[in-house]
């Protein structure tokens, strides 16, 4: 059975790129435009993987990532961070949020900095969900 992959990104261009990569490789693409919509979609569809942008309106990727990793029912869903933000800045923001909310969230195990070649993105997806 094909696996469901959710793309959360406010940039239409990025969404259509990732969706095409997913379609080309027999995954079922799901899309959301911001953090809030992303969470709704995750709760509803329980995707096998989330590809998550960091800078978005309405609940940033950092916030959504934090939410996922602190929710018992959702923490097992693998996440690929896919963003124009340097990893260093992301980790710094994540640390701030950790301190603010208490507890510590694991670092994202795959972090892709845009721009990314389709092959690179596919390799990352395969690594997580085959």
């Amino acid at each position: 059975m094909s696996k469901k992959v959710l793309v959360v990104d406010d940039d239409q261009d990025v969404r259509s790129f990732v969706v095409t990569v997913l379609e080309e490789n027999q995954y079922i693409p799901l899309v959301a435009q911001d953090g809030v919509e992303g969470l709704e979609m995750i709760e509803k569809e329980h995707p096998d993987l989330v590809i998550l942008d960091v800078l978005m309106p309405r609940g940033s990727g950092i916030r959504l990532y934090h939410k996922l990793k602190t929710d018992e029912t959702l923490e097992k869903i693998p996440v690929i961070m896919f963003t124009g933000i340097a990893l260093r800045s992301f980790l710094k923001s994540q640390k701030v949020l950790d301190e603010f909310k208490g507890g510590e969230v694991p670092k994202p195990d795959i972090y892709l900095e845009k721009p990314v070649e389709p092959e690179e993105l596919l390799a990352a997806i395969k690594k997580k969900i085959g």
């Binding site: 990025v14 309405r58 124009g84 845009k114 721009p115």
Partner: protein, 511 residues
């Protein structure tokens, strides 16, 4: 101390005894001697306050005793007892400093009076001495105080970081401290009491201070001002200076000039500006690179989607990919346009236009997009504005930019419980400017964003902003002699106001 000890000297023992008894009964302490020599001895050992001596005695007489006593201590009072009306002896006794005379036979009252007078003299002398000593101490203290103060002042002037130069009423230099030496390059020894203001300063600077002194008719300290002084050896020194015009009982007595060398401060200021400029350039370049990178991401993604469309002969894919590419080509176009607008000086092109119509056009343009984001947009237009002479392109571009920013501020707001709205208002202000006010209740700006919002390539919108929008708007408004004002509060929203000078429509055409 009251004088109480009396030495009685007489060769007749009985007289000595009688006098002694009489004085003791009056409360005096007495010591006695029966000859001049013995008298001197007792005087030395007992140190009496008053001596009463017979003038005629075998051996050392009264006069000689008097002389010797006065040599030892001129302040002791000696009363001479005479029995002869001997004028010569009296004169000699006076010359030696006798305090009084009484005649033999000694009557108690006469002696009492003489003693009282002698005591009074001693008392006066002691008082006088006390006063004199006090006065000396006081004078010494005052002198010390003055010396200390003047030393302190001299030290202050000497070690001051300000160059201090003072002139007397003839404009001759009387004070010239080491800092002044550094500033004007002349040795103090060649300046003080030798040069006048015209020798020391260049004519321009000398004139400033002379004029100041002439203008001020009373003692006054002038406010600090900045200027550049040219020294006689050709250096240019930026200084802050002030001058004190000195008056003493209405008479002009001179002036004191203070100079602060600003060379170092100016250098640091320049350095700061330079480093700020470098930082701005760095930020500009990195901001631009970031934005171009985002366009590149779009183009790469789009071309991948197009490739897939071609390979599969999938028209939908082709359309999607092509749209992405076109969108990013437009972004490059917009960026180029913004860069050009920002870098070129442009004169506004004035024509008759109706500001309210421009607002309506823009709202019409954005209506659907705004609605799709769940934001409401409202307007409140002052119909009194009517037609004005202005550049409609400036108004259109600037207004579109700040309304777009207001919409973005609503979209980016993390507080999704808010009912987001953008309000556009036009009105005339009291300074005869027509104004556009755009208010949103979006995310607002933190202090850092506020500081940087007019910096080139600074964007708070991640990769989606060029960081040129407000910059270009600010420039357009400035070229139009207008102002842009911002009120913002993080989490509560912002208000941007554009004020443009109100010029009535060009009525010449109508007539």
């Amino acid at each position: 101390m009251s004088a109480n000890k009396i030495l009685i000297v007489d060769d007749e023992e009985i007289i000595v005894k009688l006098l002694s008894m009489s004085l003791r009964s009056d409360g005096y302490e007495t010591v006695t001697a029966n000859s001049g020599e013995q008298g001197l001895e007792v005087f030395n050992s007992e140190s009496p306050d008053i001596v009463v001596t017979d003038i005629k005695m075998p051996g050392m007489g009264g006069l000689e005793l008097l002389k010797k006593i006065k040599e030892i201590d001129p302040e002791k009072e000696v009363i001479i007892v005479t029995g002869h009306g001997d004028i010569d002896s009296t004169i000699t006794a006076l010359q030696y400093g006798a305090s009084d005379f009484i005649n033999k036979p000694v009557r108690d009252e006469a002696l009492a009076i003489a003693l009282e007078r002698a005591k009074a003299k001693i008392a006066i002398r002691e008082k006088l001495k006390e006063y004199t000593e006090n006065l000396e101490i006081k004078v010494a203290e005052a002198t010390e105080e003055i010396r200390r103060k003047s030393n302190f002042q001299r030290l202050l002037i000497k070690s001051s970081h300000d160059a201090i130069v003072a002139f007397d009423h003839d404009w001759k230099v009387v004070v010239y401290n080491p800092e002044a030496g550094k500033m004007f390059g002349e040795a103090a020894a060649d300046v003080i009491n030798k040069m006048t203001i015209d020798d020391l300063y260049t004519p321009k600077i000398a004139k400033i201070f002379k004029n100041l002194a002439q203008k001020e008719k009373q003692q006054n300290t002038l406010p600090w001002k900045e200027n550049i002084i040219n020294t006689k050896d050709g250096r240019k020194i930026p200084v802050k200076y002030t001058s004190n015009v000195l008056y003493k009982t209405g008479e002009f007595v001179g002036t004191v000039n203070f100079f602060q060398d600003l060379t170092e401060i100016k250098r640091l200021e320049k350095e700061l500006v330079q480093s700020e400029r470098l930082a701005a350039v760095g930020q500009t370049v990195s901001g631009l690179a970031h934005y171009v990178k985002n366009i590149l991401i779009g183009l790469k993604g789009g071309s991948y989607v197009v490739d897939v469309g071609i390979a599969k002969n999938d028209t939908e894919k082709l359309k999607t990919g092509w749209k992405t590419i076109k969108r990013n080509i437009k972004r490059i176009g917009d960026l180029t346009q913004d860069l050009l607008t920002y870098s070129k000086q442009r004169e506004p092109e004035f024509e008759n236009c109706v500001p309210n119509d421009i607002v309506n056009e823009i709202i019409e343009l954005l209506k659907d997009f705004v609605a799709s984001k769940g934001i409401s947009i409202s307007k409140e237009l002052d119909t009194g504005i009517g037609e004005v002479l202005a550049d409609p392109k400036t108004i259109h571009n600037s207004l579109l930019n700040i309304i777009n920013n207001a919409i973005d501020a609503c979209i980016d707001d993390e507080d999704i419980s808010k009912k987001h709205e953008v309000k556009v208002k036009t009105y005339m202000d009291k300074n005869n400017y027509f104004c556009f006010e755009v208010t949103d209740n979006g995310c607002g700006m933190d202090e850092d964003t506020q500081k940087q919002m007019f910096n080139p390539m600074f964007s708070s919108k991640g990769g989606k902003g060029t960081g040129l929008g407000l910059l270009v708007t600010g420039k357009l408004i400035e070229e139009h002699k207008g102002v842009i004002e911002i009120k913002t509060s993080p989490g509560e929203g912002s208000t941007f106001t554009i004020r443009l000078p109100y010029e009535k429509e060009n009525t010449a055409d109508i007539n």
